[in-house]
Symmetry: C2
Subunit: 343 residues, 2 copies
């Protein structure tokens, strides 16, 4: 691990230093070097971009899961070339990110050749933000859409009890003269990580986010976490999208639905054992238009009607700041990470 920078008193690390520290933690808890690198970069990237609920906050969960034997940190993804537009990966009960990394080159090749390609990851654990899975495609001029299902914690609209996961959808598209257009949204009214953070801080949630163990509306994050459940965003529409995510990420990949896995024999397991679907489109196949120019025009018009912040703007601002000044962690967090890394 590199030494903290000049700002050591305020616990500021470079991105590379944070990746290196996180890599040590993963390696120490039983992952392969490939998996450690992949997860460390993913997690440090979320922290750098200000996505704290998917940043170093997640490390204790990763460690606890690895210690429980629930996930195989050394799994080698098995990539299958199924058809001219279809790649499948059996993640081997490992993490989803190394599975995507293993299939990525083939997926891009197919998308550029066929115009569209799909990656179906099964037998995988996704415990991270979803936008890092799509953003890199946009930097290569491709449009990407991904969905992942998770674990039962969302009550379908019109039902009494939870069934769906938070089931996020992430999308990325290139933009001329600017950062890609990227969003990542849970189909639950709030992300699970944000409920955990609110509970830790002792804050109340806005109304409409969840129910307690009796199915009654509550603003108390602890009541949601202790036997309660989340609601879908946007009523029946968000619920329909969450259902679609179950079908695409689980039924279509061959992975588990959010309610199918049983981790009761693995105390400490935190990661959902499900599937992920990724669709990549090559917009250069479009007749007579430059996609990136068109998306720049859309953004220009959005600003023209008074929009001040695009989805993703805050992340890019935080990223620039971190690239200049380093990533700031509080001392307690850094000490905890160092403890986990044994350094």
């Amino acid at each position: 691990m590199s030494a903290p920078s000049d700002h050591a008193a305020s616990c500021t690390l470079s991105f590379d230093a944070l990746v290196s520290l996180l890599e040590k933690i993963f390696l120490r808890h039983g992952t392969s070097t490939e998996v450690a690198r992949c997860l460390a970069e993913n997690c440090a990237g979320a922290e750098r971009d200000g996505a704290h609920s998917h940043g170093v906050f997640r490390l204790p969960g990763y460690v606890s899961t690895l210690n429980s034997g629930w996930v195989n940190g050394e799994a080698v993804p098995a990539v299958e070339d199924v058809a001219s537009g279809f790649v499948a990966v059996d993640a081997g009960n490992g993490f989803a990110q190394p599975a995507l990394a293993a299939a990525r080159a083939l997926l891009v090749e197919k998308a550029r050749s066929a115009g569209i390609a799909v990656l179906a990851i099964r037998n995988s654990h996704h415990f991270a933000a979803l936008w890092p899975d799509v953003e890199p495609f946009a930097y290569e001029g491709l449009v990407a859409l991904t969905v992942v299902n998770s674990m039962t914690c969302v009550v379908p609209h019109g039902a009494d009890r939870p069934l769906f996961g938070t089931n996020p959808i992430a999308f990325a598209a290139p933009r001329a003269d600017g950062e890609p257009i990227v969003f990542d949204l849970a189909t639950s009214a709030i992300a699970h990580g944000d409920v955990q953070i609110a509970a830790r801080k002792g804050e109340l949630l806005p109304p409409g986010m969840g129910v307690d163990s009796l199915g009654q509306p509550t603003r108390d994050p602890k009541a949601i976490l202790e036997g309660g459940a989340l609601l879908p965003f946007g009523g029946h529409k968000g619920s329909a999208l969450s259902m679609m995510v179950e079908l695409l990420a689980a039924a279509l990949t061959g992975g588990n639905f959010s309610f199918e896995f049983d981790w009761s024999n693995h105390p400490g397991a935190k990661t959902p054992w499900t599937g992920q679907l990724l669709i990549v489109i090559d917009p250069s196949k479009t007749a007579g238009q430059d996609f990136a120019e068109r998306s720049r025009e859309l953004v220009r018009q959005m600003h023209g009607v008074g929009l001040r912040r695009l989805p993703g703007d805050r992340r890019h601002r935080e990223r620039s700041k971190a690239n200049e000044q380093g990533i700031t962690l509080d001392e307690q967090t850094l000490a905890q990470l160092r403890g986990l890394a044994g350094v």
Copy 2:
């Protein structure tokens, strides 16, 4: 046109009789026989399934648009075989449904071969419900997702003035021993047709659906229609999805954004001149699982947590009823349709 059935007093027609009547209307207002058949079946299907805001209610709008010279009712779609997973159609300033019909066989062939295929329709007008575009794929064992942009009437979350269209998303997936799982949702808080129907009935809307011409929240559908605008569903998340629809249905197809066309020289024009994207996936490529069995299991579990009605259930119930008893129209509506048909 077939004569109304025995229930003539209550204005009940068979599906075929309604198709035949609507076909006459389209033909009389300048469409080709292919286009007339396609639109008549689409519109009669929506009416039969109880989707009244996209049923015969739309005919005056179709007629007004055709009369204005805004859309080419005789356009012959030009299908381009772009790549092994990519079909493009120039709808020739005609309707989107005939363009989809013209490209459909090639799209299905590509999806079955490549595992996934995309259809990019541009230079097209979509004035109908969106689920009829995807449901037939599910009956053939395929999974389909489509998006279409429309015309400026939705204020992006965080902006002051409208820019996006109602930009619906529709999805269909096969289900063993049951009707396909199908949903069709506007990314606006309410569909434009439902605002028009509420205005016609003099009813107030629920809160949160739209703003008046000054940008202030209103429940009055007339205030929304007369210079006001709709809001996206689900705040920033629905707004992000609406933005995605603009990028996929317009930028990616080569069609117009919802704010780009100018129909001011065509008084009476009602149909948005934009684009549509359709993605079809062959789930039989999935390793070791039968997709339709899996979606049946998901539905079984949804009922198990207390869900009484799936998206689409009402449509299928209405369809069964109409197939047995015919489609009921009020006498005034039927007289209006006959007037438009000149019979």
